[in-house]
């Protein structure tokens, strides 16, 4: 997504908030994670242009930015769908049926875990624990948690999201 923007545009976009973020830390390296997160919020993806810009803004080697972006699973390094569904498949959710829900979502969306639907609306990921085991099975869609899932609840969710822009979910 950042391909459509020049490095200078990205820099202008990020610069004001980068200063605020850097003020929280004694080293600029500490700002890499929050600035990457900021970039992902704005562009939906962190990629080569973002790495280069963040490195320049923070005056750190680009490899430092890349090693952070490639280690943490919440950084999307390829373009995702308008809505990113992260279904927890870990133990507490598995014991309450998340395996079947994953199969249902894969069939409904016709994608494997990690894939994006052809219309670009949904990305589906099976993820490790979301830390909401009391409402298992649970998923995270964009930034919102939805628990006590059933097949019917999933179908209703997909229907409600299909025409909804990503921003409206948070």
């Amino acid at each position: 997504m950042s391909n459509a923007r020049s490095l200078a545009d990205i820099k202008i976009d990020l610069a004001p908030e980068v200063q605020t973020i850097m003020a929280r830390y004694p080293t600029s390296r500490s700002a890499i994670m929050p600035v990457l997160e900021l970039a992902q919020q704005k562009y939906g993806v962190v990629d080569g242009d973002v790495y280069q810009t963040v490195a320049e803004l923070l005056d750190v080697p680009e490899i430092w930015v890349f090693e952070v972006a490639s280690f943490y699973t919440l950084f999307d390094r390829t373009v995702t769908g308008r809505h990113h569904i992260r279904l927890c498949t870990n133990l507490s959710c598995q014991l309450r049926g998340s395996d079947a829900l994953l199969i249902h979502l894969q069939r409904r969306l016709d994608v494997e875990s990690g894939g994006t639907t052809r219309d670009g609306i949904f990305t589906l990921s099976a993820v490790e624990c979301l830390g909401a085991c009391e409402v298992a099975p649970v998923l995270m869609v964009d930034r919102q948690y939805i628990g006590d899932l059933t097949v019917e609840k999933l179908d209703a969710l997909l229907a409600s999201l299909a025409d909804q822009p990503a921003e409206e979910m948070s």
Binding site: L74, L91, S92
Partner: protein, 419 residues
């Protein structure tokens, strides 16, 4: 039902707001700590209360604070570990979402004790509501003079910054958490030096769990004797237990430590979802499971350690008669394999190998010797990795084989025939 302390207000929809918190006695503990105690006396009071860390290890909090060198010219840091990511564990999220001022007040008290003026609250990135409510609590606390350059006129100053994690379970390990705040991959570091001496930015640092810090306002408002009188002598204070899995009433429950695992699951969790319980994991998936025959074990640090497991995060997962233990073992091992940071060979390679064997067994393609191979791998991983991730993974897997070996054999065609 014992008195609720940490969860007293959580059903109030306004509990996350400072007016509600102050109305229920909030920030009185901080006022008393700043007025009546020197920093050293705060540490002594926490030692007297015998508050033990609620993050997993159960290390005495006052002792940990006491390790911070008093003559160091370097800045000191306090980091709150809110990177809750162990399956079965969600207690800290409940505190941060619903009553976050307890945590903020606790952080100010802890920072005062160790002479820290900048603290970081490391919250896992998925916890957006926790992040929002904690940031709101920080802003409100600033506005009321509980944070800032001169807290309540004491001369003690503190700023708290939230640092969001980004989806790496290993960052719950304290040295990995510090690496992450420094802007690196969250890979653990060899100890010593311990963070108290050389932690964040190589400066003296204390890392405490959310629940540990949330205990402090109550401890100072009501005194160390009150705190120490709750529960067993060696594991005092209010404690949160998260119940999940195949229990009828999953949720977070507060009670003194020392009740039995069976009591917790049956009386508070409402019993098994289907039939009876087969087994339970007492403290997040790294804690070795107990079969139903051992449900009389007491839920406290010492009793669980003596019984071959641990309290850990007190995330209790119930498994009923429909649960397949080999499947559970596979899922747990896959989790640790996925979340291994890759730094140590035994953890990185051993868990990948173990997960592969478990998938094979589950698919009915197990071979004679597979279970022995798993036991060998557990022995090779345990004690041979930098941090507790490898230990926990091997320990948890080993317990499934130890207690439920026939379930594994039944899935291996040659052994099922022999049996």
């Amino acid at each position: 039902m014992s008195e609720l302390v940490l969860l007293k207000n959580i059903h109030d929809p306004n509990a996350h707001q400072i007016a509600t918190y102050e109305g229920s006695g909030g920030y009185q503990g901080l006022r008393l700590a700043l007025r009546d105690f020197s920093p050293d006396e705060v540490i002594d009071e926490v030692k007297s209360a015998n508050l033990r860390g609620r993050g997993g290890a159960g290390f005495p909090t006052g002792l940990k604070w006491g390790f911070v060198p008093k003559d160091s010219p370097l800045p000191r840091y306090l980091c709150c570990n809110a990177d809750e990511g162990e399956p079965g564990t969600f207690k800290d999220r409940i505190l941060m979402e619903r009553d976050p001022h307890q945590l903020i007040e606790g952080m100010v008290i802890a920072a005062y004790a160790i002479g820290c003026r900048t603290a970081y609250l490391y919250i896992r990135g998925e916890y957006q509501l926790s992040i929002d409510h904690c940031q709101q609590a920080i802003d409100e606390a600033h506005a009321r003079g509980y944070l800032g350059p001169d807290i309540l006129g004491s001369g003690h100053g503190l700023d708290i910054h939230i640092h969001k994690g980004a989806g790496a379970y290993i960052c719950g390990e304290e040295t990995a958490l510090l690496e992450s705040i420094e802007g690196r991959r969250g890979q653990p570091k060899l100890k010593p030096p311990f963070p108290a001496v050389a932690g964040l930015y190589e400066c003296p640092t204390v890392v405490n769990n959310v629940e540990t810090l949330a205990c402090l306002p109550h401890l100072f408002r009501r005194g160390s004797e009150w705190f120490a009188a709750i529960g067993p002598d060696h594991s005092p204070g209010p404690k949160l237990f998260g119940l999940s899995g195949q229990v009828k009433r999953p949720g977070v429950y507060e009670m003194p430590m020392g009740l039995s695992l069976g009591e917790l699951l049956e009386e508070h969790g409402g019993g098994a979802l289907n039939g009876q319980f087969k087994a339970a994991i007492p403290g997040g998936v790294s804690a070795p499971m107990f079969p139903r025959s051992e449900f009389d074990v007491k839920m406290d640090f010492g009793s669980l350690a003596a019984a071959g497991s641990m309290l850990g995060s007190a995330g209790v997962i119930g498994l009923d008669e429909t649960a397949s233990i080999p499947v559970v073992a596979r899922r747990i091992t896959e989790f640790f394999s996925h979340e291994s940071c890759g730094k140590c060979t035994p953890c990185r390679e051993g868990l990948t190998w173990a997960a592969k064997i478990l998938r094979r067994i589950e698919a009915g393609q197990g071979q004679p010797g597979d279970v022995e191979q798993l036991e060998m791998l557990c022995g090779g991983i345990f004690g041979n990795s930098f941090c507790a991730l490898g230990d926990g993974a091997a320990w948890a897997l080993g317990a499934t084989v130890k207690h439920f070996r026939p379930e594994f054999d039944a899935l291996i065609p040659a052994q099922a025939q022999a049996g």
